[in-house]
């Protein structure tokens, strides 16, 4: 309780408050802009957080995250183009509502649903995080090793539709993480006599390259010369009032629970939460046929579900060091920038900061009620009039300056460019990028843990499997790897049974 109050007191200072409001507004704009997404925006933001107070830096991350997850609904409803992957399900009913002249109502429902989902999710982070952190107190090096492996394997298996590619990406990320001086032996690895490689690849430089350059290149390829017209962006005022709680209350509760559950699973993101919430709302509806034809409850379910995933995804990230999604991985990056090591000790060493961040997630979600109001939405929607080709060099310049200021090294710009091209190619062949990032973050933890564990056990490998918790996590890891095969087997068996 004392830590919680310390955290809350910390965010009610000028810096974090201004950062929350500014970043939420910026987040909505980013979500609404063609070609931008929250991952890219936070990746670009991270280099700027060097030298900032931790709660100010995290306030900006929270604001951009929650703001952009709602902002993605604006083009999803107006254009049937989801601003973020989490907004795909929003298009199903949002766009038909816009076609029926109910765009304003759809946007308002999306805004309220996003705010409610985000707030409930933040409450889950505040209450469930410390409980999980208590469990992690019993962890030794063997458990840390398996936690890191479990995180990478589950993200590798769950993200994308090909397990081989996911695991390959995770192993590749781990390998990239070995470049530089080995912290335990002092051995320089894969440096080839180049002094700039001794400190390894900077996480933020790699993140900006992998996540910001590919969308810029795709934006350039599309060469949008016009943007949207003024007529396409005309919105009328609409008021929802308390009736909205009666109409969508159940959907909001159901979708919040689904979103939180999905957020806790490593690898499952806001898009899965929104799809599951949407399907659940349709199944529970008295009129399921109206879904996909402009049912406001469909918009409420999808938007509430994808925002309820936001803070919940931080629970495994902050307590175990396993990010539930890429943005959680970026939050871990933001903590590392501040010199704070995410993982089991975080709640014990920096509890005030963690609770402060959780409250920032709550407040930035609540802010959506104000910044996502109709007048503001009308203004934010105007950014879609900006032609895509103008944004291409802007993002390129922003990426470069952001990366340069980290270490003041030109070579980092080339590393960013190289990783950007790699990310572009990997995305095209459907190799997921999230496991690479996770491998880079968790790699040093995994390596140091396994080697420490071996030192403590005097080289006895069975130490990794014989401790009860580590054995449990190891079994869970194996089950995750076998999950696709089990799923396929059960599917085949069901098909055979139904034929006979």
């Amino acid at each position: 309780m004392e830590n919680f109050l310390t955290g809350v007191a910390g965010i009610f200072a000028m810096g974090p408050l201004v950062a929350m409001v500014g970043a939420t507004i910026l987040g909505v704009v980013i979500g609404a802009l063609p070609g931008l997404n929250p991952v890219m925006a936070i990746a670009l933001l991270l280099p700027l957080t060097y030298g900032m107070e931790p709660l100010v830096a995290l306030a900006m991350v929270a604001g951009i995250y929650n703001g952009s997850m709602y902002g993605g609904a604006i083009p999803a409803i107006l254009l049937r183009i989801p601003g973020t992957p989490g907004s795909i399900a929003t298009t199903f009913d949002g766009f038909p509502m816009a076609e029926k002249g109910q765009a304003s109502k759809a946007l308002k429902i999306a805004c309220w649903s996003s705010a409610i989902g985000g707030m409930v999710s933040a409450v889950a982070l505040i209450t469930m995080g410390p409980l999980l952190a208590q469990v992690t107190l019993a962890f030794g090096p063997a458990e840390y090793f398996w936690v890191a492996i479990f995180g990478m394997v589950s993200v590798g298996v769950m993200v994308g539709d090909d397990m081989t590619k996911g695991l390959l990406a995770a192993a590749f990320g781990l390998l990239i993480g070995t470049v530089g001086i080995d912290m335990l032996s002092g051995q320089a690895r894969f440096t080839y006599g180049e002094p700039w490689l001794l400190s390894g690849f900077n996480l933020i430089v790699v993140l900006v390259g992998l996540y910001a350059l590919p969308p810029v290149l795709e934006l350039a390829e599309r060469a949008d010369l016009k943007g949207m017209t003024r007529a396409q962006l005309r919105l009328d005022s609409v008021s929802l009032g308390w009736k909205a709680f009666r109409d969508h209350g159940r959907t909001w509760i159901r979708s919040s629970i689904i979103g939180i559950g999905v957020g806790l699973l490593p690898g499952a993101g806001g898009n899965i939460a929104s799809f599951l919430s949407y399907n659940a709302a349709r199944s529970a509806s008295k009129d399921p046929e109206s879904f996909g034809k402009g049912n406001p409850d469909g918009v409420a379910a999808a938007e509430c579900g994808n925002n309820a995933d936001n803070a919940a995804a931080m629970i495994p990230a902050l307590t175990l060091g396993i990010p539930g999604n890429v943005i959680a991985a970026l939050v871990l990056g933001a903590l590392l920038i501040q010199g704070i090591q995410p993982g089991p000790q975080l709640y014990h060493n920096n509890a005030g900061l963690v609770f402060g961040f959780a409250m920032e997630m709550f407040i930035t979600s609540a802010l959506l009620f104000f910044v996502g109001g109709m007048a503001a939405t009308r203004i934010f929607a105007q950014v879609q009039r900006l032609p895509g080709v103008i944004m291409v060099p802007m993002i390129l310049v922003l990426m470069s300056v952001g990366v340069y200021v980290i270490n003041g090294r030109i070579v980092d710009l080339w590393i960013m460019f190289g990783f950007g091209l790699l990310g572009y190619a990997l995305e095209k062949i459907k190799v997921p990028l999230a496991p690479i990032v996770l491998g880079l973050i968790l790699g040093p933890l995994a390596e140091q843990s396994v080697r420490r564990s071996m030192l403590l056990a005097r080289g006895d490998w069975t130490e990794l499997f014989t401790r009860p918790i580590s054995a449990g996590i190891a079994i869970a890891t194996i089950l995750i790897i076998l999950y696709p095969a089990i799923k396929s087997f059960l599917k085949r068996r069901r098909a055979t049974l139904s034929k006979t």
Binding site: P82, L175, E221, R222
Partner: protein
């Protein structure tokens, strides 16, 4: 927003062919894994063992990717996505990006930024001078205020300052 267009895939367009992209990618990954095994023999003790194990895993998974790509299977049209959608625009963006990074060192950050802000949209087909100049100028002012005045970060010096 890009890349998430909701589309329906017509199965009647499905073709039967090996996935060349996956095959080449698998070979590349396996080569990276093999190279890391080779180089890590120079490192002593556990600091060499760990990258060797990782290299072996990458080689195995890379080869698995190659084997799976060689199986003749029904490939949906979505898997036939070309590596580059618009080669011309992709090449323009990459070239401008390359020269921008090169010029940052030679003529300074703000000058090279202004150049790329003004020329890249034109190369991509944009022909409206007023919004182009206005947006480029405002963006440079924004960068200057944020990085040079507020954050006071040293950036590569301009050619006229040397």
């Amino acid at each position: 927003m890009s890349g998430y267009l909701v589309c329906e895939i017509s199965m009647d367009k499905a073709v039967e062919s090996p996935n060349i992209q996956d095959g080449v990618a698998g070979i590349c990954f396996a080569a990276v894994g093999a190279a890391s095994i080779y180089w890590s023999f120079d490192y002593t003790g556990a600091s060499g063992l760990y990258p060797r194990v990782l290299g072996a895993v990458i080689v195995l998974l890379g080869l698995l990717m190659v084997l799976r790509s060689m199986r003749r299977a029904v490939i949906k049209p979505v898997n036939d996505r070309p590596l580059v959608d618009s080669p011309r625009n992709f090449f323009i963006a990459i070239t401008f990006g390359f020269f921008f990074l090169l010029l940052v060192t030679l003529i300074g950050f703000y000058t090279s930024s202004l150049l790329v802000l003004l020329t890249l949209p034109i190369a991509l087909g944009f022909r409206r001078a007023v919004p182009l100049v206005l947006s480029a100028t405002l963006f440079i002012v924004f960068l200057y205020v944020l990085f040079s005045l507020v954050l006071e970060r040293p950036l590569p010096r301009e050619f006229f300052q040397i």
